[in-house]
């Protein structure tokens, strides 16, 4: 039986450098990721964290940094309902295809039927659609994202 994984591919008219920046720069993520800012020094082994309005939402360790081709980090949701689930992993692969960049997001090492699997399966298409719009048109998508739990299980 395969472990559940979520794979999403999108094509974006941009450069790999801009896309890399969009994935790793908090000012950028805050715009298309519905207010979630990332912070890290993006060195392998370092910690990273996403926060929304100062509240931590996702955190983990940087696993792979190979700019501008591949970025991977472990993923622990700060939502109390996800605390019993194991740490999952997210990998971004950036590949030029002509004048367009193919971006593949692979979220794996997920728990079967867990809340993380459910949340990320709904969340990644929104986040990546908004990222694509921002890079191509300069405007993010006006989406009401799913609410973030007020309580946080992250220290």
């Amino acid at each position: 039986m395969n472990k559940p994984e979520f794979v999403y591919t999108t094509y974006i008219e941009t450069s790999v450098e801009k896309l890399w920046q969009a994935l790793t720069d908090g000012d950028f993520t805050e715009r298309y990721w519905f207010g979630h800012r990332c912070a890290s020094d993006w060195k392998v082994g370092s910690e990273y964290r996403f926060s929304k309005q100062g509240h931590p939402t996702i955190q983990g360790k940087v696993l792979v940094v190979d700019p501008p081709k591949r970025l991977a980090y472990s993923w622990d949701s700060c939502s109390p309902e996800a605390q019993r689930e194991r740490t999952s992993r997210v990998t971004f692969d950036l590949e030029p295809r002509g004048k367009v960049i193919k971006l593949t997001v692979t979220h794996d090492e997920l728990d079967e039927r867990g809340v993380t699997l459910r949340n990320i399966s709904g969340g990644w298409p929104m986040v990546l659609a908004s990222l694509k719009s921002l890079l191509e048109t300069g405007r993010v998508l006006d989406i009401d994202p799913p609410p973030v739990a007020k309580e946080t299980a992250c220290a």
Binding site: Y8, T9, T10, Y11, I12, E13, R97, G98, K99, V100, P125, M126, A129, S130, K132, S133, E136, T137, R139, L141, D142, I143, D144
Partner: protein, 160 residues
Amino acid sequence: MPRPEFIYVTYIETTPEKLWEALTSSDFTKRYWWDTRVVSDWKVGSPFSLVLNGRTTDVGEVLEAERPRRLSYTFRHILNEAARNERPSRVTFVLEPHGKLVKLTLTHEDFAEDSVVIDGISKGWPAIMSSLKSLLESGEALVIPLDALFIDELEEAYRS
């Protein structure tokens, strides 16, 4: 063992009417779908086909056409012999208003056992849907080299 299916969700700043037009009009599809023309009168039971550079690549039958909410057709790839001999699979588009956007859910399912088609469609749909979103939002489709997708079944079509 769950049956294989391909599901792709995206959010597009457009209206359901425009998106419906983009999925069903060949003037639109040839702009974002590598010059592919979609041919059908979109009545339930009518034939449907995709024509690329003058060659029919895929055929099927319209199953549902509930403008502008739901479109479904059977799908059989006919360029490649192994694919031609498979029974048809099924493609469904669901268009849902989502605030000022439209949530588009594409489901491609009901594949034959050991389908040779699923690999090609899994590579093709993300590129097609990405280019469609770009066209509707920015007015420009994406230029994605078809041969960079490595879809074996379409090799002949883009070489000829």
